[in-house]
Assembly symmetry: C2
Homo-oligomer: 327 residues x 2
């Protein structure tokens, strides 16, 4: 198998991606193929004084930026790291492709080149929620309009992923809703609840509220892409707003700066447990290929962790398990 890594995607590319590739080669006993501007990558290896042992490079002249319209960018930039990565995945089903670049463009490229798993109606964007217990949250925005049966498929795919890659036995599945009682929610949520409760191949735990999602009460949490995206953005925005506030207080005047300096290390350590990069990212489930999206601000460690997950995804034959269950 080959691990393709988008060297140009994300806020910290290419430095942290390259450092992550080196970490992965050293710690995970794998080869890595970096895709990106060859001269930039080579210069980066030189300036960071890193060894490129077991790392090869495929040149890509273009890069898809975060601000570009996904489908248009994928169609027009055939020589971008992202499009080349997705097309290589199409040629070799036994490979995986990891990128920290634009989520929308990565999904568009994956759909265009590898398509969906047979039987899957819609692929889903996933986030591994950084709670005490890892919790796979999907769909986070691939499908703004969902039919309730899509959520059953999301639940099945999430269950297989958590079992195979995260080694969770009999993963519990929750439906994100405004209350835990069975009849809570809008018409869509009620319909989805009914379908999910009838599905015997999953361990349905009923409705859960945002609090439970944050605390990792279930192993898999499903929602339509509109709701999932808004809830995820609400959590991220609140975290960021509050962090800025706490940091501001810790720098406000001499007394607070001293106290801030004393607390900084422990606080940072603790807040790391809420950091999405700790799990190294999450796959696009439903896509007929191993495509992993890592957070835009991924550091070397997050990249290495994504490689670890991708290796496990392939070793455990997640794609063929999904095809069996969904087709």
């Amino acid at each position: 198998m080959t691990v393709y890594l988008d060297a140009m995607g994300g806020d910290n590319a290419p430095e942290e991606i390259i450092k992550g590739a080196v970490l992965a080669v050293n710690e995970l006993n794998t080869n890595i193929t970096l895709i990106g501007k060859e001269d930039i990558i080579k210069n980066c290896f030189a300036s960071l004084a890193l060894s490129d042992k077991n790392i090869s490079i495929i040149n890509a002249e273009q890069t898809i930026e975060m601000c570009e319209e996904p489908v248009k960018a994928v169609r027009s930039k055939k020589d971008s790291s992202m499009v080349i990565g997705a097309s290589l995945l199409k040629e070799d089903k036994n490979s995986v492709f990891i990128s920290a670049g634009s989520t929308g463009a990565l999904l568009a490229a994956a759909l265009l080149y590898t398509g969906r798993i047979k039987g899957v109606q819609r692929p889903a964007l996933c986030t591994m929620m950084p709670s005490q217990n890892p919790c796979l949250f999907l769909d986070n925005g691939a499908n703004a309009d969902c039919k309730s049966e899509y959520l059953v498929q999301f639940a099945k795919m999430g269950t297989i992923y958590m079992q195979s890659v995260m080694a969770v036995k009999n993963p519990s599945v929750g439906l994100l809703n405004i209350g835990t009682e069975k009849l809570k929610g809008n018409a869509f949520a009620k319909e989805a609840h009914e379908l999910l409760s009838k599905e015997e191949s999953i361990n349905f735990a009923g409705n859960i509220e945002p609090k439970d999602l944050i605390e990792g009460k279930c192993d898999v949490v499903v929602a339509d892409g509109f709701t999932g995206n808004l809830v995820l953005k609400s959590i991220e925005a609140t975290l960021s707003y509050m962090l800025t506030m706490v940091k501001g207080v810790m720098k406000d005047g001499f007394k607070n700066s001293i106290a801030g300096a004393l607390l900084k290390k422990d606080l940072k350590e603790k807040l790391k447990t809420m950091d999405p990069s700790s799990y190294g990212g999450a796959p696009f489930l439903g896509i007929n290929g191993g495509v992993f999206k890592t957070h835009g601000n991924s550091n070397a460690n997050a990249v290495k962790n994504a490689v670890r997950l991708a290796l496990s995804f392939q070793k455990e034959n997640v794609l063929s398990k999904m095809t069996k269950v969904l087709w």
Copy 2:
């Protein structure tokens, strides 16, 4: 006009409600009528050594608890503070009723006794978001299933409230969505966007994301009740999760406890700006009466602020302004 105050609702009842009533009488030049168990209220005045000048009491033998099923509780507990308050509002349109008790029961009681403003299709639960700029967020859960035209009514009612009670000139209205571009969102959001852009009586600012809601980018933010409730719960749950984490670090060992003690006051002060009680609550818009819901954990100051808003609500004839616009 009469200000009726539910003495038995909320986590801190009756002490903080009574203290809030005394503050309001002293600072806002108003009379207050407390509704609740007379002996408990009188004992409370005595034990807190407070003056009951300009405060009268209406006895209510029952209390509706937070855990009760709203409609059932309102129908069966005719002698509860909440039902008595709502029925008094029906008799005297020039009065207001404030409660920190169960939101669902308060809405049910208000709907049952005062009904809706003529022309209003659905009433909405509102929250005054505690951002730098006060921002009225509705619907927060009264209507899990909404038609897009309800959102136009929410926008109109929110505009009148922010103009009249919060003294905001030409309030901007945002639609909560997964992206700011016009064509973003699910089918419902797109339809609502179109209707809102056509509505000339409001100052529509387009789509906004959760980040903008938290930062108070618009004066009024509308959403369907399902989305609004989930986003609000996501923000509250993230805040609470993070607060617990920060507090934990500030108590972890001698060094951190010292630093924590140094920071505590300033941090608390800053976090207060994110505290929903600072605005004293928000009205149920669309209800044919001045009904204000204050946060369940309201303290005396929040209760006083709610009285201030309710007085302004009456003084500015918000109900008749809404009837004019919506009927």
